[in-house]
């Protein structure tokens, strides 16, 4: 849909995209570890407060209804099955990113791909809210994962473009200042 945005990258965006990619991968690992470790930490006597804090951290973005969460150590994970699917899908999408997109171009997914990936989750979620059916947690996880796979293709592209644009603006300002002083 959008053309390659290489404006802020004189030598191509590969280095910036790679850096954003690795930081995103590290963040995703920490994010998933926090979700999975919350019940384990909450179960421990010494670490219960940390576990509670992790549950609280994810509360604004997930309903955390225990029946809709996968269990670990006899307690629900910090997010529901669908959210876990989205985050797991995000991790899978990150793993696929270098194979599908590579590091040398910045391009957002097309609207058609967006609709195709969001449709299963939207239909399942809307049907659940309207009371048409109540899908099992595995289906929630799977529909979330399909959507999640697409998200790194937006996130890495946008974050790399942001870094490139900021750097270009900084360099332009420095050039202007230098020209002003001479």
């Amino acid at each position: 849909m959008n053309p390659p945005e290489n404006g802020g990258f004189p030598g191509g965006p590969a280095r910036t995209v790679r850096r954003v990619y690795f930081w995103t991968a590290a963040g995703t690992i920490v994010w998933l570890a926090a979700i999975v470790s919350a019940p384990w930490l909450a179960a421990g006597r010494a670490t219960a407060r940390v576990g509670t804090l992790l549950y609280a951290a994810f509360a604004p973005v997930c309903h955390q209804i225990p029946e809709r969460c996968f269990q670990f150590h006899g307690r629900p994970l910090a997010v529901c099955g669908r959210c876990l699917g989205i985050y797991a899908g995000f991790a899978l999408g990150l793993a696929l990113y270098p194979l599908v997109r590579g590091f040398s171009t910045l391009r957002l997914p097309t609207a058609r791909v967006f609709i195709l990936t969001v449709l299963p989750m939207a239909v399942d979620g809307a049907a659940g809210v309207l009371g048409l059916w109540d899908s099992p947690i595995g289906v929630r996880f799977a529909t979330g994962a399909v959507w999640g796979v697409l998200l790194p293709f937006y996130f890495v592209t946008g974050a790399a473009d942001l870094l490139g644009t900021r750097r270009a603006r900084r360099e332009a300002r420095a050039l202007e200042n230098r020209a002003g002083t001479t």
């Binding site: 945005e5 309903h63 957002l108 473009d161």
Partner: protein
């Protein structure tokens, strides 16, 4: 390289405040169960407003900035609304008892959940909560903003050759052929 920058703040303020209020209201907040839809969709909508308000072709970085700003503003308004609608633990307990009497099963650890909720209502927890909410909403807003650029952003003009500029007006000639 001194590009014009779009006016990020206005759409982010309008949409972020609305998304935060909707996320904090008792029943409407359930929409956030669908992939944080108020925040994700709100950030995308803020980009749509931004795109309409500026002649500039938006880049993914513009979407990311607009989305992050929308998310942070939504977090602030969400926290303010949450203060206005604090969960009433006693009422919740009564509703749960009523549901139990109707034969509707309750989660096994519901008492623990209610106790946990009441613990998070101190000012310290509110500030910590605002910080976490701002980080979470900003990240989700970044995603929504970039998606918004791909869905609603103006396409760059195609490579149609531009019309030649108009010829500058001729200076008045005072030659013999000049009929006035």
């Amino acid at each position: 390289m001194n590009q014009a920058r779009p006016e990020y703040l206005r759409p982010a303020l309008i949409v972020g405040a609305a998304a935060g209020i909707l996320s904090g209201l008792p029943v409407l907040s359930l929409v956030n169960c669908l992939c944080c839809l108020w925040i994700l969709g709100g950030a995308a909508f803020a980009v749509k407003l931004l795109s309409q308000a500026t002649p500039i072709v938006l880049k993914p970085s513009d979407g990311a900035l607009e989305g992050a700003l929308t998310g942070v503003i939504a977090a602030v308004s969400h926290t303010i609304v949450s203060l206005a609608f604090p969960p009433n633990i006693e009422s919740a307990r009564r509703v749960l008892e009523w549901l139990s009497s109707m034969g509707i099963e309750q989660p096994a650890n519901i008492d623990g959940l209610l106790e946990g909720t009441s613990r998070f209502m101190s000012p310290t927890w509110m500030i910590i909560g605002l910080f976490f909410t701002a980080v979470m909403f900003a990240l989700i807003g970044v995603l929504g903003g970039i998606i918004g650029v791909s869905l609603f952003g103006k396409k760059p003009a195609s490579a149609v050759p531009a019309a030649p500029p108009e010829a500058p007006p001729q200076p008045p000639s005072s030659g013999p052929g000049d009929a006035s």
